[in-house]
């Protein structure tokens, strides 16, 4: 074995930084596949019930705030952009830019969650939280199935929001590592891998938004 000084980030059970990076990247992809299956069960449930109760679902969907939803979509897509820029900065060893883009990503994520909370609050005020207090005055005939729609809405967006919170947590850790100098042009795979996670959470929203907010809406 050669006498090369081991990179401080190289774990003892790996032979090279390259092997470690490949393993971590593969690991994150496998994890994302599990997340697809996790959300997949919800999407399957949604598809089935929407197929059975299209009118109720459309009526319920119209109660969601398309404006806020669209803003959130733009916010999240922009955050993916800043994330990609963060990865790029990391690759080039640009610590300052990396830190800035990480902060931008986290901020946008927080904005998303903030808007989401506002939406949730509105739903609460409009008696659209499933349970005994649920009311659907606009079209009472659809009340039962509209409740089903909102159950799905809260579970799906709630789970997504939880993933966002975890994502922001991950970004905080990444920011800390970047600030400390752990991340260099040689060793930036944690940023890349966190980016993969962030993009995934973004993509889930890209599916959620039209399925939940845009049923039966025309320009």
């Amino acid at each position: 074995m050669s006498e090369l000084i081991q990179h401080p980030a190289l774990a003892h059970h790996f032979d090279s930084l390259e092997q470690q990076k490949e393993a971590s990247t593969l690991g994150m992809w496998v994890f994302l596949v599990t997340e697809v299956l996790f959300f997949g069960g919800l999407f399957a449930t949604y598809l089935i019930y929407r197929n059975w109760y299209p009118d109720a679902f459309a009526a319920a969907s119209h109660e969601l705030d398309v404006t806020l939803g669209t803003i959130n979509t733009v916010v999240l897509i922009t955050s993916s952009l800043t994330m990609a820029l963060a990865v790029h900065a990391a690759q080039l060893g640009q610590r300052r830019l990396l830190l800035i883009f990480l902060v931008a990503t986290m901020t946008l994520g927080a904005v998303f969650l903030g808007i989401k909370s506002v939406e949730y609050y509105h739903k609460f005020a409009e008696h659209l939280i499933p349970g005994p207090g649920f009311q659907f005055e606009k079209e009472p005939v659809h009340v039962r199935h509209a409740q089903l729609f909102f159950s799905l809405y809260f579970v799906m967006t709630g789970l997504h929001a939880l993933h966002m919170v975890i994502g922001i947590g991950i970004m905080l850790v990444m920011w800390w590592w970047s600030w400390r100098g752990t991340i260099t042009a040689e060793y930036y795979s944690p940023i890349e891998i966190s980016g993969l996670y962030w993009h995934f959470v973004d993509i889930v929203w890209i599916f959620l938004f039209p399925l939940l907010y845009l049923i039966g809406r025309h320009a």
Partner: protein
């Protein structure tokens, strides 16, 4: 004691023999392959037992011919079993056109049977031999399962839906009825008896009659009590569709879809009237969810079934 161990349940329906034949074939296949494998491994274990502590086996890596053989032959055997099983299943799933219908409402933890003539039974079901019987079943609460081993018949009974089984009893006697889908505390107490009678005895039993009259007549009364007749009039002047002659027909819905008017559609129309509205009508029918029991739904269904088409009824 040993002679007292039964191996097969009684065969008391037309399907029982077919199911048993398939079972016996599978036993033969299973015994053959189990004996073959067990025999070979024991034989090899003895014949090739290690004699010297450092001896090794002969390095045979494989044989394409063997792999193909022992993939193809099991595949063929399994396909035979599949076709046989499918054929039995088709027969089980398709009741004959003319069946004696009996309604079943399952609830924790009892079986309620409703004969068309109005007799109600709890946990005991009287049926005649020689006629196909169809059970139309629903549950008031959780999932149950209607299982009569002697008939080789089984189907889940679901809340909010109708499921059905059919059988033709062939042997008079009393047979076990079990609930076969775990349903809570007294699941193992949700048992009963199916009493199969000769046709003449069955007639006698039937003529014992029911004080409330037939299901359909009870339904007629309910139809009036609930004021269904104010909108569903035979002269087509009401705000709802004419029901005479409607059961079994194909109707077109508002969204263009077509469906056959069956028990499930009638039930849904009473409980969720806006779900599937007939073309040309307004969504103004109120829901009767919570206002009618499962049994009352069955009475209304039987009543609607009994309404014959009138000579000059106008259909829209």
């Amino acid at each position: 004691m040993w002679t007292g161990i039964p191996l097969f349940p009684e065969r008391a329906s037309t399907m029982a023999g077919r199911v048993d034949a398939l079972y016996l074939f599978l036993i033969v296949v299973a015994v053959f392959f189990s004996a073959l494998i067990a025999g070979l491994i024991v034989y090899f274990a003895i014949k090739y037992r290690r004699r010297a502590p450092d001896s090794i086996g002969t390095g045979i890596h494989g044989s394409m011919l063997l792999e193909i053989t022992w993939s193809v032959i099991p595949l063929l055997i399994t396909m035979v079993i599949f076709v046989w099983g499918a054929s039995v299943f088709f027969a089980m799933s398709r009741p004959p056109d003319e069946t004696l219908n009996i309604y079943v409402v399952a609830k924790q933890w009892m079986w309620k049977f409703q004969h068309l003539d109005g007799q109600r039974e709890i946990n005991e079901l009287h049926v005649p031999i020689g006629r196909p019987v169809k059970m139309i079943m629903t549950s008031e609460d959780v999932i149950h399962d209607f299982f009569v081993p002697a008939f080789r018949v089984k189907a889940d009974v679901l809340p909010g839906r109708y499921t059905s089984v059919w059988f033709q009893p062939t042997k008079p006697g009393r047979y076990h009825l079990f609930c076969a889908e775990y349903c809570g505390t007294r699941h193992s107490g949700m048992v009963g008896q199916v009493v199969v009678m000769d046709p003449s005895e069955y007639q006698t039993w039937l003529s014992g009659g029911a004080p409330e009259g037939s299901l359909a007549s009870a339904g007629a009364k309910l139809f009036a009590d609930l004021a269904c007749n104010t909108c569903h009039r035979p002269d087509a002047q009401g705000r709802g569709p004419v029901l005479e002659g409607l059961f079994g027909k194909t109707v077109t819905l508002q969204n263009g879809e077509m469906l056959v008017v069956d028990e499930a559609y009638v039930r849904e129309s009473i409980l969720m009237p806006s779900a599937k509205i007939a073309s040309g009508f307004q969504p103004i029918m109120p829901t009767f969810q919570g206002l009618v029991t499962e049994e009352q739904l069955l009475e209304l269904i039987e009543y609607v079934k009994s309404l014959q088409a009138l000579p000059q009824v106008q259909t829209r």
